[in-house]
Symmetry: C2
Subunit: 210 residues, 2 copies
């Protein structure tokens, strides 16, 4: 299939783009042809940004989130509750939770979830440092906020087994019918969980979500 391209430079660039998730060879070719129409300086800036983000990016030494500094802005913020630790998969989840403005603790970014299919085991994730954090006795609550997938549930359970013995309260975010969703369209597992884990009504009055 590669020999269909009239240039090995084109072939190489298309091949590299096609390695990205969700991008096939047709889309890759479209993207490369787009770049060929841009100024050389703009394309170099694109290439440099890609190299720089991989080579020079830092991770916060406390929460492992992406950061420009050794300690990220969240971990450095004295106003936040340093005893609460919310365990998430990656920076996107940190951004999603931050955007709710409902959480004032710190994070712990695992860098993924346990996924034998993808060759990702516990040793590939930031779990040792989470255990250290809990073992040091500084955490008053660990909130597990991973995706409700098989991998997320497996990781939740693995972390639970590792840190439960330190006696720190471990919670997980509520699963239920999404705000704004109609009951009849909720899947039965979600609806079932939202019934089993129902909460006192007056508790909902305290949330100032909007």
């Amino acid at each position: 299939m590669n020999s269909q391209y009239p240039s090995h430079l084109l072939d190489e660039a298309v091949g590299q783009f096609a390695k990205l998730p969700g991008i096939g060879r047709k889309t890759a070719l479209r993207l490369v042809l787009h770049l060929l129409r841009q100024e050389k300086s703009d394309v170099d800036a694109f290439a440099n940004a890609i190299s720089a983000v991989r080579n020079d990016i830092k991770y916060c030494h406390i929460c492992h989130n992406i950061s420009d500094t050794d300690t990220c802005d969240i971990c450095a913020d004295e106003k936040r509750n340093r005893a609460q630790v919310c365990v998430v998969e990656n920076v996107r989840d940190v951004m999603a939770i931050e955007s709710t403005r409902q959480y004032n603790g710190l994070y712990h970014v695992l860098g993924g979830v346990i996924s034998p299919m993808d060759g990702i085991g516990p040793d590939d994730l930031n779990i040792d440092s989470l255990e250290d954090k809990v073992a040091s006795g500084k955490a008053s609550e660990v909130i597990l906020a991973l995706s409700t997938t098989m991998e997320g549930d497996t990781t939740n359970f693995y972390i639970y087994k590792r840190i439960a013995r330190y006696g720190v309260p471990i919670t997980t975010i509520a699963r239920g019918v999404a705000v704004g969703d109609e009951l009849e369209y909720a899947d039965e597992v979600t609806l079932g969980r939202s019934l089993v884990n129902r909460i006192p009504f007056d508790q909902t009055l305290r949330v100032n979500a909007y």
Copy 2:
């Protein structure tokens, strides 16, 4: 919105990806996070391929198609009919026509179509060199194979006006109901054109398309 990212390197890389057509900031972030999980050498190879394709790619001096050499493989092929010139928009159209194995002439790649909305005028396209080719008297037929869009039709007409006076036969690819399509689902313009431009039935027997 930029300040949502916890790192300016991340922000820059996401911003660069989001400039690509069809890629929004959410997808861009997903792609950058994917790259952060790859080996540094692989990401550098990706960045280098992008720089290289823009900086080092050559265009055939005869047909303007992307090439690794001054003369592309098609133009250098002595077995091809050098008097036939098929005018196409870009390398993707060359590849599409080549894959039919129904054409044995040369190409002329315009590098785009006239599109005032995008600021692309005739001077931005390889039209002067097409006129030179026709004026030199070496072409026996010019085949216009641009997209059936307003921009494609405009460009067809502009080229026609530029080269008609040289008396070379100018043809355009047939428009009609696609092979394998049912009549009732064809749009009326296409069906109408296929009726107006009907051809002798025995002519279809000569085509060994599959």
